[in-house]
């Protein structure tokens, strides 16, 4: 496996989706909407100034951080689906496969092409989010909510894992469908569990504290590994040329 060869594939895929306005705007719009929208909501709550703010505001905000995990699971599905279904539609997989590139390098390249822009967008949006939330809450709380260990686990462990998970799932789905839209719809199923976790966190059934976040990370890592093997088995030259539709 040559990283440099995978990088050629990744750069090419990124240059293609850069031309797809819809994909590009989605990638930018979602993180910024969350990064600005939620702090604005927090601002409203703080300025209404009801009592007991100190007791519930940290939990509310903490649980909300989980949105960055969900975002990291939603954003790459479009890119990954286009990256593979797009090649199916254009019938460009066969010429690609006849170059001296291994199946693993192609798969890694396509994964990087979805992973890197997603994580860049998530991290950029979350910096904005943390700064704005701190600005809104510092006065009322007297201390800074961010950065925090929980947020570090979210941004550097959970979100990358969720992103990989979504990419792998998109690869699986893409090998079975022939248009990007249905690939995305199927891939959409995967962030339902994440949304349940978020709701459970918001209503307090599962507190989204650092320890629990690490547990989730472990479980997600196992899933990512399992899906990695499945997608590697599916993404084989012979399968692609003779089994994929």
């Amino acid at each position: 496996m040559r990283l440099s060869q995978a990088w050629i594939v990744a750069r090419h895929d990124m240059s293609i989706f850069r031309r797809r306005r819809g994909v590009l705007y989605g990638l930018i719009a979602l993180p910024f909407a969350v990064g600005i929208g939620f702090p604005a909501l927090v601002g409203v709550i703080v300025h209404r100034g009801t009592g007991g703010l100190e007791s519930y505001l940290p939990d509310l905000v903490n649980a909300f951080s989980f949105w960055w995990v969900i975002g990291a699971g939603i954003l790459p599905t479009t890119i990954a689906a286009y990256g593979i279904v797009g090649e199916k539609v254009e019938k460009s997989l066969e010429p690609l496969l006849s170059t001296p590139t291994t199946d693993g390098e192609i798969l890694l390249g396509k994964t990087l092409a979805a992973f890197l822009p997603t994580m860049a967008a998530v991290w950029a949006g979350s910096v904005l989010y943390q700064v704005l939330v701190d600005l809104e809450t510092r006065g009322a709380l007297g201390y800074l909510l961010y950065p925090s260990w929980g947020m570090a686990v979210i941004l550097f462990v959970l979100a990358p894992l969720a992103c990989l998970y979504a990419v792998e799932f998109s690869v699986l789905v893409s090998s079975r469908v022939t248009d990007a839209r249905s690939a995305q719809q199927y891939a959409g199923i995967i962030f339902l569990p994440l949304i349940f976790i978020y709701i459970a966190g918001e209503i307090g059934t599962i507190p989204l504290d650092t320890v629990n976040l690490l547990y989730f990370s472990g479980a997600l890592a196992a899933l990512v590994l399992a899906l990695f093997y499945v997608s590697l088995r599916l993404f084989r030259r012979e399968e692609i040329l003779t089994q994929w539709k």
């Binding site: 060869q5 254009e90 019938k91 460009s92 066969e94 040329l241 003779t242």
Partner: protein, 310 residues
Amino acid sequence: MIHTDRLTKRFGTVTAVDGVSLDIPEGEVFGFLGPNGAGKTTTMRMLASLVSMTSGTGEVAGCELGKPADELKLRQRIGVLPENVGLYESLSAYENVAYFGRLHRMDEPTLRQNIERLLRMMDLWEKKDLPTATFSKGMKQKVALARTLVHDPILLFLDEPTANLDPEAAKTVRDVVLDLKRQGRTVFLNTHHLEEAQRICDRVGILRTKLLTVGSVESLRTGASGKHTAVRVDRPSEQLAATVRARLAPRTVELSGDRLVVGVTDPEQENPEIAAAVMAAGGRILEVSQLSQSLEDIYLKLVHEGGAPA
């Protein structure tokens, strides 16, 4: 350059390619003929190490088929133009070709040089920055051909490269193949365009799951059923044919319309004797001619009978 021994591919219970043994020397343009579903594409994919073979062995461009360590080396040396051109339509002609040069690890100066040379040869240099979605089918095929050639492969696999092209684009493709031949490269060309095979191929093979025959177009034309002299006569009859047959034994003599068709080995030597025999039998000769089968006759005969020629 290509050597295979009983190459076979089965999909479940369907045998797509059955025991194909080929020997293609360096510098040859080899035409692989056969009807739809004959297994041409599958054979090509096996030779390019894109799909595995069910049984058999093969060596292509100095690499052993089915040996994982040789796979990348093989694909580095060959160029494959699949049936579907498969361009990235949002990218320009230049970008399409450049991507494949990079995948073949070309250095940037050589890459730029080759792209310019190829796109100029294809008459596409002025349009190099336009997205290929705006191109005609012929232009797309030319971009795909440039993409296949960009890394200077020594062996080319072209899968029906002129199918459904306008005559001008088809001519460009054929000229490129002839040019490659002059440069000493080896070309394996799938086609069901017989005239094209006749014009540009050194040898052809006819496939229908099994390899039915291989040879130069010339040798197939004479070898498939031998040479024949046709004598057109004034009043043809079975009786005349029988008399001539007796005189010319052991040659075959058949009545076909108003002609007596005589199997010969050397027409120049035998034709006077044949003419004399016909006249002696009371036939009035209107015309003596050589029957020559076209590649098409041979092809249709083989493909429909399915058997190998005698």
